[in-house]
Symmetry: C3
Subunit: 344 residues, 3 copies
């Protein structure tokens, strides 16, 4: 691979640098601590008790609160940015994200990615790469895998088109393939800790939940978050990286905001088992006000004692002005389809 | 109780939902960590060594630094917001807050409230509820109690007025009823650690201290703080929640700012034993610059070895422009009356 | 010493209050935790694995990640502000900073300073003091020493000039006097953890590295940082402290930003051994976009197994507009000369 350099500083890779089958081992290993949770909490205010209370986590069969699932996701994702997306034009989608095991505070995460697909666009200037990324702990145990595809620049338009391999991705993780977090047991789940009594069976397919909460985005908050994850994409930090001189908000920030909003109405959906798909439909900027709505897509049995799985589609969109529809094509920011684990 | 819902998402309770004697058990239990202190510290810069230094805390008889008293207060308060004040118009006051025991990092806090008073306003659209809130640790030991009253909307103006019960509240916690934090001992208190030599006997009743420090408020800072406390009141986060499109700063943020300012001039007032009363006189917004002044109200003996209690009135107000009086009716933001423990 | 007071609140010292040989013992002792690292990380995004990964730190001979060197520097520096620089006009420079030993999380830092020089300026209104500051842990072991000089106001212009003592400071810490961090061993240094293969011998004297990353400064971020360090200088927090109503960004914030930028191009320069000199050439304000460039000044042998020392000059300057030179006299913000430890 030929990294563009400014002296010895890397400028990231281009389409020509990737080939199907290639494995990229990402820097920088990162020990996750309760301090990271505190920072995550002050940015999102997530209130799932499995992640906020050690006694509650113990009542669910764990030794202590595990690391927040989206903190794991963003940290693993962040490690890939320097290798995959410094020259990305757009983060096109995610699929088949499986949260394989709860991560403990004190664990150290690292990640690698395998290139599983590549396709040049007809304009000859850009293309798409597909990768499968795995996050691992210090004992090399995988904790998260996901597929992602990204639109990326060619270094040189005059190069001939690269090979084309378009991998298959599943539209959703099948219920029978959902991860089973080791040790988790929801048989004595205390709904008093969440403030809501609804269990998995109380949600019906097609049901809609408006999550009420709204927040007006600020630049500082998304930058603080993005740095936790060691995501260095300049477009999030430098107003000169875009012609409109606005900092683009990292898409993962929107995922965490949406998930925190669901604490109102889906308070017992404690843990994300899988992300089926995720799309950042429009870019988001500071000053915009966002809200979220969830549709219940499916439910399924799950081997975790006392639990069932709920498939949800949560959308986050712009709100504020009279008559605005946060979920229309112009205002929708995030469309996320995922499986959660709930008490039954 | 009938919570307003948007699908399964709660919109909070209204005046008609409350009755004297009712007990509300609040979600979400929360394990407090050194990470929370670090976040608290970066927002307020509080410099009381009992809360910043383990060796100093050991020299005062404790095993380690306890959780900052106002972090405990805000976390307990935050738990009540979803049940008590999502539909509040104004947080009218506090009384009889007693900090019953030092909380240790690793402890998990939860809270419940008892409705102790209710009164409909003559306009028929709003009323006041009084509650007594108790914060407890994971062993169900109370760590904090306080009374608070809130103006709240009626759901339906046409409902007949509710019963009227106006509870008695003390103007101040009597000195002889002040909590005695277990294990604390100020006999070898090192004033070198605080940088000020003044002990409780050096303060005279009526003495005024201008705390010199000023800070210009930002929206991001008060939102980061408010989320630590799991306080979800939308008016703090969403510019569309008020006609002037300004985010209202959470009153507890002002209390913590004021307390941090007092590190200059009252550096040895290590710990809050009780809050006698607290009023948020005017709303506060980003861009305003605040400063604080304290008047010494009283002192009293206290059973803690080497210590005495000092009753203080700290006011926080807007400053900046020429000739402005931060403490007049137009500019005063916070008026707080409390007892601190100091070395004697 | 005669501190200016507002009631019992200190307003800091003036030139007349200092004398050569004086020792100032600074408040407030501070236990440093992983929470502080998490906050530091969300503000700077520093990616040196020695500071982000316990397993990596163990592979380098330590028991766990030490406290980030610049977090130590800023905390020690912050302790001195109340005594040295509340009435400072300008922070003129640093010299001979030696990072004597890795600090462990859980250690408690305090500091003292000795006045080593003083000189009144010809205008009769200001002067310069030189101090040597030492940061120590809870066992009174020095962890950092540095010299610093500051321009400070006289309280009273009519006072006769003070004595003049101008101390010698070295232009750089000689290679043979560099600290040797106990226990560190780079013989099995894994460059996969940093993402760059360059070792100390790969850098040639005179080589330039442009670090690519840019960030647009915000007020909230520098205030959050400055409060971690207990630095209370009002000019960083209060828009009324300067005629232009801008908050001056704490110079240490610029040092940490610059150091984080160097993770791209100098990823293996794991640890700062010494700061030879540092100058804040122009003041920095929110809204400005900064970038960094490093020149390799020298290399030297070092007793740490598997390691060598690299002397670097990193400059941070304003960028963004077409044709701007971030490193010219008008735009240069920081000029920092320091020694790092790298694998060889």
């Amino acid at each position: 691979m030929t990294r563009e350099v400014a002296g010895k500083a890397g400028r990231g890779y281009f389409l020509e640098d990737f080939a199907v089958g290639q494995i990229l081992s990402h820097a920088v290993p990162r020990t996750v601590t309760r301090g990271d949770l505190a920072v995550y909490n002050c940015i999102y205010g997530d209130r799932h008790p499995l992640y906020t209370s050690d006694p509650f986590a113990r009542s669910c069969g764990l030794n202590a609160s595990p690391v927040h699932d989206l903190l794991v996701f963003h940290i693993v994702f962040g490690k890939t940015v320097g290798d995959l997306s410094l020259n990305a034009i757009a983060n096109l989608g995610y699929a088949e994200a499986r949260f394989l095991k709860p991560v403990n505070y004190g664990d150290t995460l690292h990640a690698h990615s395998k290139v599983i697909g590549i396709k040049e666009n007809s304009n000859g200037r850009t293309g798409i790469i597909w990768v499968e990324t795995t996050g691992l702990d210090q004992s090399e145990t995988p904790v998260l895998t996901y597929k992602r595809w990204v639109m990326i620049r060619k270094r040189n338009e005059k190069e001939p088109p690269c090979e084309t391999v378009v991998p298959a991705t599943l539209p959703a993780v099948p219920a029978e393939d959902l991860p089973v977090p080791r040790g988790l047991d929801f048989r004595v789940f205390d709904t008093g800790a969440t403030g809501e009594t609804y269990r998995v069976g109380d949600y019906t397919v097609g049901e809609m939940i408006d999550h009420v909460d709204c927040t007006t985005l600020t630049d500082t908050e998304h930058m603080l978050a993005t740095r936790i994850y060691h995501n260095t994409a300049r477009v999030h930090f430098d107003i000169n990286a875009r012609p409109d001189r606005q900092r683009l908000i990292y898409g993962g920030h929107m995922i965490s905001l949406a998930r925190a909003f669901t604490c109102n109405g889906l308070a017992n959906a404690q843990i994300i088992l899988a992300i089926n798909s995720g799309t950042h439909v429009n870019p988001a900027f500071a000053g915009e006000t966002v809200t979220a709505r969830t549709e219940v897509i499916d439910h399924a049995d799950h081997p975790t004692p006392g639990a069932g799985a709920l498939r949800l589609r949560t959308r986050l969109g712009r709100t504020g002005d009279d008559g605005i529809d946060p979920y229309d094509d112009a205002n929708l920011l995030l469309d996320l389809d995922y499986w959660c684990l709930m008490p039954r």
